[in-house]
Amino acid sequence: MASKEIEVAALGQKSDPPRGRLSAILGRLIDPFRRGTPPEPRPPTGFFTDTTVCIGCKACEVACKQWNQLAADGFHWSGNSYDNTEALSATSWRHVKFIEQFPPDNSPSRLVSDNFQSFGTEFSLEALLNEPKEGRWLMMSDVCKHCVTAPCQQACPTGAIIHTEFENVFIQPDICNGCSSCISACPFGVITRSSIDGHSHKCTLCYDRQRDGLVPACAKACPTESIQFGPVDQLRERARKRVEELHRRGVTAAHLYGDTASESYSRLNSFYLLVDRPSVYGLPDNPFNPWLHMKGDYARALIGGFTAIVALLAVLFVLGG
């Protein structure tokens, strides 16, 4: 199905100017080197994902696929709660994660079957609120973090990955050649190379919608406002207030992830409110920008080379002199 879509998209349009074979080849060679005028910078935008109000409905996943015309992934029972998307991919730019934190002898399925008998007679909001809680269910809609200093953008050798005028990280699909440098650089495992076109893909933060003054599809579809979109400074302020509120209510574990820069990583323009360790949500506890090692690694590589040169020269001078 997806291949058909690609084939149809590749067909010539009547509006296209007539192009000979030579012209097509030259276009392919020259077009990537053409530069347009960069748009004027706009206030940075981003996502604030409040995981405490996520209900795992996956409306964000569906809206993202629908708007961006992403191919279906097929269906696969993962065996991991309700998470059958499993990971972000070239065709899934949103991924709702489910974390079941229940005692082993009191799984969610057992709770449902135990309570089911009483539903007919005693079900009420009061009963629901007062029923004993022995665990919790965490949910989080994962997406590209749109890092302020993005390792994928730093790694990209073609210049395909750029920061847009909204300071979002964007892969130019007509430039990417599928070298995979961005995939190996991303500490969050966001980017994937498509098996259909061979290029890297990820969330664009609905760049097209933003340019038209619209809210990204996922944030628009989110029924609980777990995914909030807007100018990132305002979002950070709102997020901090939300954390304070949760602390007041007794949720002392509530904290923001990616709100501020650490020694080893920049701020994220898509940041999260979590109530457990980041690794529980599949996020690195201490993300590290691999570029911090680069100078040292080049120095060691040169040391490796220069010691070999010195050794070679020493032998040549001693035996050849």
Binding site: T158, C186, G250, Y298, I309
Partner: protein, 307 residues
């Protein structure tokens, strides 16, 4: 309104419960967060060919410039071979792309912050004077002007050749993949290895051309470079010990170590020290090449094995 407030309080309380470790699920904590790039066998071969072409050129150039009487004839054969190895390497690089027809997009920008960009530019620049040097080397007539141009081309190619050797390890070590991200000495190992491979290739060429003086100098030089490479390999293994201990059992690790350091470095040193016979030298160089390829396959597999 009251219900809404009670629901929010209920939600907050339910979130604050479950502090008991017995009821806390680890969620995705056991999963590797990063995604491994689709770099497999082609990349291992690319790493070997990169070392072979840059190493051969650099050792040939350094030898020729230092002791021209002995090495010019060997270098004249080495440059065309280095060019062939480079073309093979570039072919592997292009076919490893998701969209091979967009290989030229690599030259859209020059980004020193991206090792792959720096490497592509170094390889491109290195290929130009190398082609000139290789072409002139193949001209049967000895013209002074051509010889001067050849030497200038060799001098120009030195720096980009070194850059081409250096970038590969840094490309792998400056990313977020398990294993690679800890390999601080990967660049050092691969650069050093390139010189070792180049010296081995030059030794074989000298042997085949029956250039006894060159063989007499390159044999101890290769022994010394093998020793140096063993030191850098140990530093690399020290960087990777946590990853390797997670991936391999003691027995498997012993096997990998035996093939990499034993068969790929120590046995060749022994063979080179024992005697200068052609058979021993060729056997040593074959082992060096196979050992180097094996190590590169192990390195490339690190993130995949971790996931």
């Amino acid at each position: 309104m009251e219900t809404n407030s009670r629901l929010q309080t209920h939600m907050a309380l339910s979130l604050s419960r479950s502090r008991d470790p017995k009821v806390r699920g680890s969620g995705y904590a056991s999963e590797v967060v990063t995604k491994a790039p689709a770099w497999h066998g082609l990349v291992a071969w690319d790493m070997l060919l990169n070392g072979m072409t840059t190493g051969l050129f650099l050792v040939a150039a350094i030898s020729e410039l230092t002791v021209p009487d002995v090495f010019t004839s060997v270098a004249n054969i080495a440059y065309p071979i280095a060019l062939v190895l480079l073309l093979l390497d570039l072919l592997f690089l292009v076919f490893d792309l998701g969209d091979a027809l967009r290989f030229h997009h690599m030259l859209r920008v020059f980004k020193p912050s991206a090792p792959m960009s720096l490497g592509t530019w170094c390889l491109t620049i290195y290929s130009l004077p190398l082609t000139v040097a290789a072409a002139i080397s193949l001209v049967p007539v000895q013209w002074t002007t051509l010889e001067t141009i050849r030497k200038i081309a060799v001098l120009i190619a030195l720096l980009p050749a070194l850059g081409s050797a250096v970038y590969k390890g840094v490309l792998l070590s400056t990313n977020s993949q398990p294993g690679w991200k800890n390999a601080r000495w990967l660049g050092g190992y691969l650069t050093n290895s390139a010189f070792m491979l180049g010296c081995a290739e030059m030794l074989v060429l000298s042997l085949l051309m029956k250039n006894a003086s060159a063989v007499a100098m390159l044999r101890p030089a290769l022994g010394l470079l093998l020793g140096l490479n063993l030191v850098v390999l140990c530093l690399l293994v020290s960087d990777l010990r946590a990853t390797l201990s997670r991936l391999y059992t003691r027995l498997e690790f012993f096997g990998v170590g035996t093939i990499s350091a034993g068969a790929g470095l120590l046995v060749p040193v022994g063979l080179l020290l024992v005697t200068g016979s052609s058979l021993f030298i060729l056997s040593a160089v074959t082992l060096i090449l196979l050992g180097s390829l094996f190590i590169r396959f192990v390195i490339v597999a690190l993130p995949h094995a971790s996931t």
